[in-house]
């Protein structure tokens, strides 16, 4: 009998794996019917998951950690056994603001550290604090833009205004002059560039080469009570993810996501992130960014506990949570590599042998130890060259000049 699973999502390109699992029959092959519930705001998506209106959701990885730690309304233990995407964000600013930055877009995007310092100068030239839209306090975008700004001595809580608004409202807010720029998942940055309202200032992939983005989140009690359904869903998603990563499918994928049921923006805008050809300023040739968004390769779906801890370290850094061992352990436990391994044991996918690794230490593609098959991890460096050792959170945090 086909089992119906309800899942909530936001209109973003990285809903791709869920959409394809449903539309290309991967879920059906596993005896699952996926009912995708479109929501506008992360608060609504969170509540639908926490209060049981849906069984799973496409969630910002930091939000899953924050809900579990009781930082975002009703506390609930969430579990993320699968990452839906890596990378895919873009910081865009109004052209008038970007005038003070390096005009050559290739050079600007290739040098995030230099651009961060230019950004500091641009704030000085701006008539007031620039207002930067972020999609949520507990988003990978907010964490990334804070990390990047702070590297140039810009205090994200003092020198700029971070304003929260859902991704699908960003372009209209630019048009209305309510924000001077924003960082959001695609295709919203491309939509703003395409409308001539903004140009690209930084690309997520150049800030952290393998940045954790969306996870598939469940309530932990539901996950524990439904191991068989969970495993079938993960198998369907792994096959859907491989389909999404295949360049031969990018055009069809862009068309699918363009539908009003999903993102409801032109396929041409959605295709830019999929193919890694980013138009950074209206009317200019695209900049190549081949790792702009990953779905499957390099075991993208594998939820490294060290990545949950990296997120946690940044929440501690900005004073959003107080560090102690017990809290760190609860944050790490949100990511569930054990469930990933159980579900995909027979899938033929290369399976990492460890659950934690150093983050930011891979400079060039590197083969790693696996239980089966060859797994090559892509470069995962942070633009400032820092390396995160999940066993040394206190030392890592002490290195930051700017922290709370």
């Amino acid at each position: 009998m086909t089992q119906v699973l309800q899942m909530a999502f936001l209109p973003l390109t990285d809903v791709a794996v869920l959409a394809v699992a449903r539309e290309q029959g991967f879920a059906e092959e596993e005896g699952l019917a996926i009912d995708l519930v479109r929501t506008t705001s992360w608060a609504t998506l969170r509540d639908r998951l926490v209060y049981g209106q849906v069984q799973a959701a496409q969630m910002l990885a930091p939000l899953a950690v924050a809900v579990t730690l009781g930082l975002s309304q009703q506390p609930a233990a969430l579990a993320a056994p699968y990452k839906l995407s890596v990378n895919g964000n873009m910081l865009v600013m109004a052209p008038q603001f970007a005038q003070a930055l390096e005009p050559d877009l290739g050079r600007r995007l290739a040098d995030p550290l230099g651009t961060a310092h230019d950004f500091a100068a641009a704030i000085g030239l701006w008539r007031r604090k620039p207002v930067i839209g972020i999609v949520h306090r507990f988003s990978s975008h907010a964490i990334m833009v804070r990390y990047w700004l702070a590297s140039a001595g810009i205090d994200p809580d003092r020198d700029v205004v971070l304003r929260v608004l859902p991704p699908s409202l960003t372009v209209e807010a630019m048009r209305a002059g309510e924000i001077d720029g924003f960082i959001a998942g695609e295709p919203w940055g491309s939509a703003a560039v395409n409308a001539g309202l903004a140009e690209t200032v930084a690309i997520g992939e150049r800030i952290w080469q393998r940045g954790v983005e969306k996870v598939l989140a469940f309530r932990q009690d539901w996950l524990d009570a439904n191991p068989e359904t969970t495993d079938r869903l993960l198998r369907a998603l792994a096959r859907a993810a491989a389909w999404c990563d295949d360049p031969a499918h990018h055009e069809a994928l862009a068309e699918l996501l363009a539908s009003p049921r999903y993102v409801d923006l032109p396929a041409e805008l959605i295709a830019r992130a999929l193919s890694g050809r980013i138009v950074a300023r209206q009317g200019e040739a695209p900049v190549d960014s081949p790792d702009f968004m990953l779905f499957a390769r390099e075991a993208t779906g594998f939820p490294w506990r060290s990545q949950a801890l990296w997120i946690y370290s940044q929440l501690v850094r900005w004073g959003m949570v107080t560090h102690d061992r017990e809290t760190a352990a609860r944050a790490a436990a949100v990511f569930r590599p054990d469930v990933f391994r159980r579900a995909l044991a027979d899938s033929g996918l290369p399976m990492p042998g460890a659950s934690m690794k150093l983050e930011g230490a891979v400079k060039a593609p590197m083969a790693v130890g696996t239980h089966r098959g060859g797994l090559t991890l892509g470069p995962d460096r942070f633009f400032d060259g820092r390396i995160f050792d999940p066993d040394q959170i206190e030392d890592f945090l002490r290195e930051f000049a700017m922290r709370r």
């Binding site: 506008t40 608060a43 609504t44 209106q53 309304q73 009703q74 929260v164 859902p166 699908s168 409202l169």
Partner: protein, 193 residues
């Protein structure tokens, strides 16, 4: 108790406000979620904020509740987390309520219950309105198809309708779908009308 309703839809907010006033609450304000609504809300210092669960402005509002210095007391969604039935009803009805810390649950519960009833009533009104609109659009489509049949086949109006109905029954379709197919075919064939 000061209650602020954040809502785009004039109608839903009015339906809710009327209900609250009838129940004896008189310190009620409606704030549309545009522009500097967060600053307005801060000045009002509400005890309870009611809004549509699906409102895109909830992320903005929650961020404000988290960082605001003007609001002395923290605000959380739903006051009594132990009342699962109440929360379930609110979520199903699409109500989200932010309540200041320290407000007794006996005082908040009737407000929430009322909001749930009014949101449900509004949703019913909305769906009845949608149905009425659909019915009107359907009737127009069927009228056009009838006109085509009357014109092309020289039928009387009742005969044209009977033909549409029997075709629909034979094909297991709705009359409006058969009518739409006929109109499309007629347009493709340059049949005018």
């Amino acid at each position: 108790m000061r209650i602020v309703i954040i809502d785009d839809s004039g109608l839903r907010a009015t339906v809710l406000e009327e209900g609250l006033r009838e129940a004896g609450y008189d310190d009620i304000h409606i704030v549309p979620p545009h522009g500097a609504f967060v600053a307005r809300l801060e000045r009002m210092a509400p005890d309870v904020v009611l809004m549509d669960l699906g409102s895109p402005s909830r992320d903005t509002l929650e961020e404000m509740l988290m960082v605001s210095r003007a609001l002395a007391r923290p605000i959380a969604m739903f006051v009594d987390q132990s009342d699962d039935a109440m929360i379930g009803a609110a979520i199903d009805a699409g109500v989200s309520a932010y309540v200041v810390d320290g407000l007794r649950k006996e005082r908040v519960k009737p407000v929430l219950e009322l909001a749930v009833r009014r949101f449900n009533a509004f949703a019913r009104m909305q769906s009845e309105l949608d149905e009425a609109r659909t019915a009107l659009a359907d009737r127009k489509t069927i009228d056009r198809a009838k006109a085509i049949l009357m014109n092309q086949r020289g039928l009387a109006e009742q005969e044209a309708y009977a033909l549409l109905r029997s075709s629909a029954m034979n094909q297991g379709k709705k009359i409006v779908d058969v009518a739409q197919a006929l109109i499309t075919a007629s347009d493709l064939l340059g049949g005018g009308l």
